[in-house]
């Protein structure tokens, strides 16, 4: 059974968002990492890149599959977790600690389209 952290918002494509003022901290859910298996590579955007809600901003690679990372919100990348370049397995170890990027949101109303923990849990039942 995969863990779902309370207090986060989720996309149907299994990204999570932690809201910190006007910054969205973005990662992938425990369900996503478990589905992928051992993650071997994380393709990250650069700081200052613009991301658009619903469009891919990078990718995860496991031994067997690759999976695009879909931006849950739009905005500018203000930080990326460079530790994932050398240690992509951090996502497997704790998907909620291993954030991937931080985005300065351009439209906070996009958060309204995301799911809370309880509703996300229903999508992966």
């Amino acid at each position: 059974m995969s863990k779902i952290a309370d207090g986060l918002l989720y996309s149907e494509s299994h990204e999570w968002v932690k809201v910190d003022g006007n910054v969205a901290i973005i990662g992938v859910s425990d369900f996503a990492q478990a589905e992928m298996g051992d993650i071997t590579y994380v393709e990250l955007p650069d700081v200052d890149d613009d991301v658009t809600a619903g469009e891919d901003f990078g990718a995860l690679e496991s031994v067997k599959t690759s999976s695009e990372l879909i931006a849950p919100v739009s905005g500018k990348v203000v930080a990326r977790n460079d530790a994932l370049e050398d240690q992509p397995e951090l996502i497997n170890e704790d998907a909620y600690a291993a954030w991937i990027i931080k985005v300065e949101m351009s439209d906070e109303s996009e958060l309204d389209a995301l799911l809370n923990a309880a509703d996300y849990a229903k999508t992966i039942e």
Partner: protein
């Protein structure tokens, strides 16, 4: 849908172990039990056991068995000693590949065992029956009667000889087998595999296969799924039918010409291969090593620096043993020479690579 999938004789044990199951070649097969990386490393460093009961066993016998097998098989079975095994292909007349397979020369005169890919059992059997017309032979598809496990890795011999009680396996050289009898039933133990390591493949009745599987697990051999079977065979430079060999890809294109004996008087597809050798082929299978860790996957385009497409990836991974991104790709022959720079398009970006030998990993077979 799931109900239409066939199950091997070990299926319930995989489910019990919590394996991640997925359809493969019409069977519901274990992809991994714990982690592809852990299972892969167990085979490289110690030993692992695979359920390969989905593979096909087709027996050929009769006064003209040698002539018939020689007719349909690219390698040279003429005068083959009993207990020997040859790898090769069956071809269509145009040189396209029907399947790649192992041929076992049995002790009994005029008897051969053909071990074929699960996905191709029906095709192969129909092909063999069609080709058998005019030959005094019997072609017998016994795939459903035989289970099979592969015990692979540097410690495989210890477990096959000791845990499973086949001391005779120690004397086997690579690509030879022995016929054993256990509980009145035939068991075939061969020193073969699909991992690049030393190891054995054991063919037996389903009940015995279940007992061997359990004994190996109890002895600490790691159960390994099809996930690492693919990463292991790929690193060792071994083709997978459907990816590197197809009805459109001949062994010459795949770089497997050494298994096609063109000095044989005839075999199906020989003329096409002779022409391909003489005139050259349009595309060839190559190995490509990337300088980045991005992972090339089957279907990704291979390009020149200016973006001109010259090929396509057939299998690719971030190699677990070598810790670098590598792939097989079918490319225009003009760009197949070792050292040729090629680029691979991975999602929105293009990554530089170079043509290298397909045997990425130095295999460790027992000679």
């Amino acid at each position: 849908m799931e109900n239409l999938l066939k199950k091997t004789c070990l299926h319930d044990l995989h489910v019990e172990l919590g394996a991640k199951m997925s359809p493969f070649a019409g069977y519901d097969m274990p992809i991994l039990y714990s982690s592809i990386i852990d299972e892969h490393n167990a085979v490289r460093q110690a030993a692992g056991v695979f359920d390969v009961s989905h593979m096909g066993e087709i027996f050929v016998s009769g006064p003209q068995a040698e002539a018939f097998v020689s007719h349909v098989f690219t390698n040279d079975v003429r005068g083959m000693e009993p207990g020997r095994i040859l790898y090769g292909m069956m071809l269509y007349p145009d040189g396209g590949t029907v399947d790649d397979l192992l041929v076992y020369k049995e002790t009994e005169a005029d008897h051969y065992l053909l071990v074929v890919n699960a996905a191709n059992i029906a095709t192969d059997y129909a092909w063999l029956l069609e080709q058998a017309e005019g030959f005094d032979v019997k072609v017998d598809n016994r795939s459903d009667d035989w289970g099979q496990i592969a015990v692979q890795g540097p410690e495989a011999e210890k477990f096959v000889c000791g845990t499973l009680g086949f001391p005779e396996a120690a004397a086997l050289g690579f690509y030879t087998f022995c016929d054993c009898c256990r509980d009145g039933k035939r068991v075939i133990v061969s020193r073969t595999g699909y991992t690049g390591e030393d190891g054995f493949e054991i063919y037996a009745a389903p009940g015995q296969v279940r007992a061997y599987w359990q004994a190996l697990l109890d002895a600490g051999v790691k159960p390994c799924g099809l996930g690492c079977r693919d990463t292991l065979r790929f690193e060792a430079g071994l083709p997978l039918y459907g990816d590197e060999l197809t009805a459109e890809i001949s062994p010459v294109m795949a770089g497997l010409g050494m298994f096609c004996k063109l000095d044989k008087p005839e075999f199906v597809g020989k003329d096409a291969l002779v022409a391909q050798k003489a005139e050259g082929v349009a595309r060839k299978l190559v190995g490509i090593e990337l300088s980045d860790n991005a992972v090339p996957r089957a279907g990704y385009p291979v390009e020149l620096e200016d973006g001109l497409p010259v090929g396509v990836v057939t299998t690719g991974y971030h190699s677990i043993t070598l810790d670098k991104s590598i792939c097989f790709a079918m490319v225009d022959s003009a760009y197949a020479a070792l050292g040729t720079p090629l680029w691979i398009r991975i999602r929105k970006r293009v990554f530089p690579g170079v043509v290298v030998k397909k045997r990425f990993y130095q295999t460790k077979y027992k000679k």
